[in-house]
Symmetry: C3
Subunit: 338 residues, 3 copies
């Protein structure tokens, strides 16, 4: 949908310097932008690239002037850009309807405004809310629930009873609600511990491609509102993730661990079982949190096993100097022997 | 299927204290259990929760008494619970038949009691044994073999010729029998080394969501009976895994490595190529086993590169004290200079 | 297709010692080879196995003689074997045509020699080149492009606009062109940064099972010609990978990092954002490259955080001796106190 710079300024509560009638049709980076693309400037380093961009309208800090460009003055240009992007690219075309090839159990309840793509399979008792888009090859097991305004990209599996809130986006290949990993050894073989708990995913969650999230064993796996999960992440049974936490790619979170709100995990982090990461905890990439550990509110940790950041940095620096240290000890020993 | 406490006691060879006619319809955790759910008690820590549970029947150690509850006395309550769960939830409804949308080559041989879900594709020469369940969107390539009583959740790929034993469960998104990763560089480009070997998976194996297991290059990749593999694990070409080994999430096992029986790998472990992990070896989470290494029978190792557990613990402790050690050496040097 | 040893010798520019009319129908390992399988010998360690093999023809170094076997003399037997395997197993049967169950938008343009398997979904504006094979359950989003001679195994997702060159092979479960992971926090919630850039994959690329590759955010994610990517690898938005680079399983490459040509990453390596790995850089398994780091041309690094290989080896050796070093310092202190 095309908007004017003036309309966008109003939406963003931004001061406008320039042409309020300039048209905006999308967003872009400064190098590839066309006249009707919105761009942003959030660092003096990029001033030249932005000034030379083909775009007519720029989100920038108050006071910024860039030749003939129309400026929308905002305190946080990158945030405003993200908000503007969502607003400018609102789907005007309302794709809905059910593809004739979808296999849908009679007891499923689908909102009339839902879109069901080709070769979707929907089992009995499934509920899908208004405006949700279920793309090709999605499988929604018996009793699964999808809220309003969700989007399941092609090839998403919801195991039976998995529940998604509103405005949840799930990328291709994700498996939601699979059995957790628990066995008891006896009589010469592994017996599967029951994996029959629930999986509840809140609102405004985004789940990356080929992610796996297990249902609870006897309890419930819970993903809070606003949580963002990158590709190839593993979330085990009975894990609870607090709202607005952010989980980078290839992280693994083991059984029964709890993350508070706004926790951030870097790429390839491993959280062992029964850990507690309190609100605002930050874990550096590739770190490992050992079984049962607690990371305190707002604390940043790093390394495997993880230590408080400053301590970890000192350790890594000490390790780098270790061969030198050994040589110094040898020297002291020699002088001692003299 | 509903059973009585008396029937279950007989199945488990448990002594029953209480009402042998109490009905049992399933299993649960103590907090969410209803009257007809079976629960278990395996630690005094949980005694209060269990006593207050809505469940009428409890698996517990001999001598345990919990108010009016019916007790089934067993030596290992958690093991008995797992066994009881499998027994109580035996599918009584025999879902079988072939969904009309499945595409099945005429030369495939399907047991009459197999279930083939919607949008399954089965190529020529495939064999599927009695009672196996192949859910939606599974792809079984030319000549693949599925034994009896298997369950392939939706969206499992078996590459041509992949072979599963009996009672194998494969979760959604798993890819079984893909090409291994091997190339030879020459004349300015990579030439693919042939990946035409076999893949043989034994009986009673469980494979997690989005796992990848490669066929052999010229030889055979073998997964032994009773092996359990968690989500997002990678098993490379020519790997052999001995029976009852347990592989946690996000582990990677490189080409031609061999695991014995009852080997246990923690989450995110990396095993390089041509390693040998003998029977009962245990590898701690995030550890790395370097190319060609041998982990001896029953040995526990940890770290990257992995060391015997006690040594690894000492090393990690030493590293934590390293900044202090450096300061002590500095002090010795100063006194030495005096 | 069956060939003779003489024809193969001509194709490989190899000298032939023995029977030029010996028939060749495939390749194999020495233990499982039948008479018409080609095998190779590239190490004296395997000489006995090869001599006892059922195969009649062997690729080997000049001067090798093995009883009655026909020898094709080549400088690099393993390379010649890979080349011969590709040549001997060239598909003679030209499978093409469109399965009746495929859902194909009218505006898609498919080469007449393309093969489209069952339950493929092809959206508007998609282009597929000559001889490409699109197997079951593949999803090709609006405007995606597949060059000539490609092979998409079952269950591959191409997000809209993703572009593959010629002779690209993509294994089952891979997700190509998904949204990158970028958000801006404001007003109490995460706003998604636009993920609307492009994804361009060159020629002769192979992509493993369940790999995820994100499109650019505002720019372009680029995978160069001849790149080989193993299973379960994550490639984030705006990453560029130079030609003939090789990425082992479970590697994660974060946003905006750049790899030069012939870069090699071991299994489970993590490359943080905005890193530069120059041509020929080699990163050992499980290593971590910290944000913004540069690995110089031809350099080998190892560890997390990664160091030059020799330095890393010294560090690991020093760490192994650390408990001893601490004891030595304690001894010096004791003598100092005396």
């Amino acid at each position: 949908m095309t908007r004017t710079a003036g309309e966008l300024a109003e939406y963003l509560h931004a001061a406008l310097v320039g042409d309020a009638d300039a048209l905006l049709a999308g967003v872009a980076g400064p190098d590839s932008a066309r006249a009707e693309d919105l761009i942003y400037l959030d660092s003096p380093r990029h001033q030249e690239r932005v000034a030379e961009s083909g775009a007519r309208c720029v989100l920038a800090s108050p006071g910024t002037r860039l030749g003939g460009k129309t400026i929308l003055e905002v305190r946080d240009p990158k945030l405003a850009f993200a908000k503007a992007a969502a607003w400018l690219t609102l789907k005007s075309e309302a794709a809905f309807g059910v593809h004739e090839s979808a296999v849908i159990a009679p007891s499923a309840r689908l909102a009339p405004s839902a879109f069901i793509g080709p070769y979707v399979v929907i089992e009995g008792g499934v509920e899908i809310g208004a405006g949700s888009v279920i793309e090709a090859f999605c499988f929604l097991g018996r009793g699964a629930r999808v809220g309003e305004g969700c989007r399941l990209h092609p090839r998403v599996t919801l195991y039976p009873e998995a529940s998604l809130g509103d405005r949840v986006e799930v990328h291709s290949g994700a498996v939601i609600g699979s059995d957790g990993f628990g066995y008891v050894f006896g009589e010469g073989r592994w017996w599967k511990f029951p994996q029959i708990g629930a999986l509840e995913i809140g609102d405004d969650v985004e789940i990356g491609a080929n992610v796996t999230i297990d249902r609870g064993s006897l309890e419930t796996t819970r993903i809070g509102n606003g949580v963002k999960i990158d590709n190839l992440v593993q979330v085990a049974h009975n894990v609870r993730i607090g709202e607005n936490s952010v989980i980078a790619s290839q992280v693994g979170i083991s059984g029964s661990s709890t993350l508070g709100k706004r926790v951030m995990l870097g790429g390839q982090v491993g959280v062992a079982d029964h850990c507690t990461l309190e609100d605002g905890a930050i874990v550096g990439a590739q770190s490992g949190i050992a079984t049962g550990k607690i990371v305190r509110q707002g604390q940043t940790v790093w390394g495997s096993p993880a230590r408080p950041l400053e301590q970890a940095k000192k350790q890594f620096a000490s390790i780098a100097r270790l061969p030198t240290l050994a040589a110094r000890v040898r020297k002291l020993e020699e002088r001692d022997e003299e």
